[in-house]
Symmetry: C2
Subunit: 363 residues, 2 copies
């Protein structure tokens, strides 16, 4: 066990475990204490074969079942915003909510998974549990991506479930995402004689106008409607307080329906910003819903809710690209992910655990 954190009790129930997981701060890059605590907590489980790769943990059952399910979740969160430690509050309807960074994205999902990983010694499917690092940052750092390179043997299965927040219902596939830098250039000059320069920040005006006027599409893919989004996630420029700057950059994130490839998405953004230098910083393909296979349909029936589309990019796309049908299924309202008032309904954690348990034991 890490000296710095309390031991985790995987029999405490998913709700208490969610709070315990959140209270071990694990902003991307700082997952080690949490991964240490999970390794320690799972060490006694004889039915699980453990592997660690950096701060990614794999726990495998090998029961010789006919089918194998991969169930995964990430350990990291976006930066804390004075919203830790967690606390429970009742809303105006008398329902309990667990507040704090990570409660939605996605430690409630991880808590459900860890609880079931420890408890289900004889599931109906063999299970490959994966908890990984660096999901909330650049795709190149993603722990699941690294694991796929270092341990491709773990990416064999008939179906994959990612515990990303989906209000404990099934969300199919995901939007793709790209990030580009849109740069305007000008001519540097003293701001007292600005007419001899060309202001690169002013030249970003039409790019901001494009963003501000943009009408994102909603696209039907295999029966689910995916909503897109085009957003500036950063802007920067400026040399000194008395200098007309010669460069200014807009950092743009485009989330696109899985009917469009990342290449097509890049082409679309290049057309929108045709007058600017556009550099691609990050790209991740989307994933189609993945609900057509029999095992997927059986899972959906067991959970008992109408599947909806996943808007955010999630690592289901990695499974999808490897030919493994994959869905998102986890507690929490994704619109509260990353928000200062991030919070999860306690009832959703319980529902999610119950539905997943029911399906995994073959009821």
């Amino acid at each position: 066990m890490s000296a710095s954190v309390l031991p985790l009790d995987l029999t405490a129930g998913s709700v208490a475990l969610t709070a315990a997981l959140c209270d071990i701060e694990s902003v991307s890059g700082n997952e080690t204490p949490l991964a240490d605590a999970i390794m320690e907590a799972l060490a006694g489980a004889a039915h699980l074969e453990l592997t660690r790769d950096g701060d990614t943990i794999v726990a495998l059952t090998n029961l010789g079942r006919a089918q194998r399910v991969i169930i995964a979740g990430h350990l990291d969160t976006v930066p804390v915003k004075e919203n830790l430690p967690t606390h429970v509050e009742k809303d105006s309807l008398g329902d309990d909510w667990l507040w704090g960074r990570g409660t939605v994205d996605m430690k409630a999902g991880v808590a459900v998974q860890l609880t079931l990983a420890a408890a289900l010694t004889h599931p109906a499917y063999d299970i490959t549990w994966i908890w990984y690092d660096h999901e909330e940052v650049d795709a190149s750092q993603n722990g699941l991506g690294r694991l796929a390179v270092n341990h491709p043997e773990f990416f064999v299965g008939d179906f994959a479930i990612l515990g990303e927040p989906s209000n404990s219902s099934v969300e199919g596939g995901c939007n793709g995402t790209i990030r580009v830098d849109v740069t305007a250039r000008g001519v540097r000059a003293h701001s007292a004689r600005s007419w001899v320069g060309e202001n690169a920040i002013h030249r970003l005006a039409p790019a901001l106008a494009v963003l501000s006027a943009y009408q994102p599409r909603s696209v039907d893919v295999d029966g689910l409607v995916y909503r897109e989004g085009l957003n500036a996630v950063g802007i920067s420029g400026g040399v000194a307080t008395n200098v007309v700057p010669d460069e200014a950059t807009l950092h743009v994130n485009y989330r696109f329906a899985p009917s469009r490839s990342a290449d097509d998405a890049i082409e679309h953004v290049r057309e929108l910003f045709a007058d600017f230098d556009v550099q691609v910083v990050d790209r991740s393909e989307g994933a189609r819903p993945g609900l057509t296979s029999p095992i997927a349909q059986h899972f959906v029936a067991a959970v008992g809710a109408v599947p909806t589309p996943k808007y955010g990019w999630t690592d289901v796309a990695r499974f999808s690209a490897m030919g493994i049908p994959a869905v998102n299924f986890g507690p929490g309202d994704a619109t509260l992910a990353h928000a200062d008032d991030e919070r999860v309904a306690v009832s959703q954690i319980i529902e999610c655990e119950s539905a997943l348990r029911k399906w995994l034991v073959g009821e």
Copy 2:
């Protein structure tokens, strides 16, 4: 003498001295080695009474002359951009130029002043020479402003000359300058579900449109025409690469004719950005031309060129506010100040020294 720099030779001539002053890097905040070297070089001048205040140096003659002239220049530069050490190049006409950071703004002017301060043991006017720190940054840090508080006795005189670049002709007064932060606010959200947030960067679009469409005025003040400018000098915003940001800020610099007060300038900018939160960061009044007094007219006649307006804000405004008529007079083309290709015509350094010497010895 500072251990880290070569001693300065004030008899080497203004051109060689300009190169030597530039090659002692003195970006705002790092003036100490240069100020040390100047103190050391002036230490032997029996006709000068030296005072040091931080990195500001005052050298005074006390010859009992009927009139006193204040002659000042700043020691700091904007950041170096791979343009040091200095070097001399011929242009296509065969004329020599000294290239490098500070050559124009304003070490050529300081070199002329130091040369004459050391050489003129019996000038026709008593002279208060001032070389000061922190001119290129926020007005609150300005060394001349600090000196006026710590040593008001040095701000007594009949006329003031600031050696800011004016192509070795007389530039009267200066534009005023204000800086404001223009902030847009929104609602933070995950960029995968951007429709639940409000993008603060997108909301800056109309502010950039205002800047990009703005037509600056040209204003006649006491016979000189002042050209204004409104520029973004910085822009910032962004929380993380997958977050719709809730705040974005445009840093705006407005340079205004001396017929307008800083209060009026602020009012004008508030009107332009009425839909935004506008915070004033920095404000400096302009200065009217200051060419009406007999001593100013005598100086202009001695220099022998038609006065023109100064566009940039300079510390002549401080003298002007204290009731001391003041002009800018120094070598160098101000449009090359702060530029990557900053360079001064060698002939202008010589002209400037010659004209100033002629007037100071009473020819």
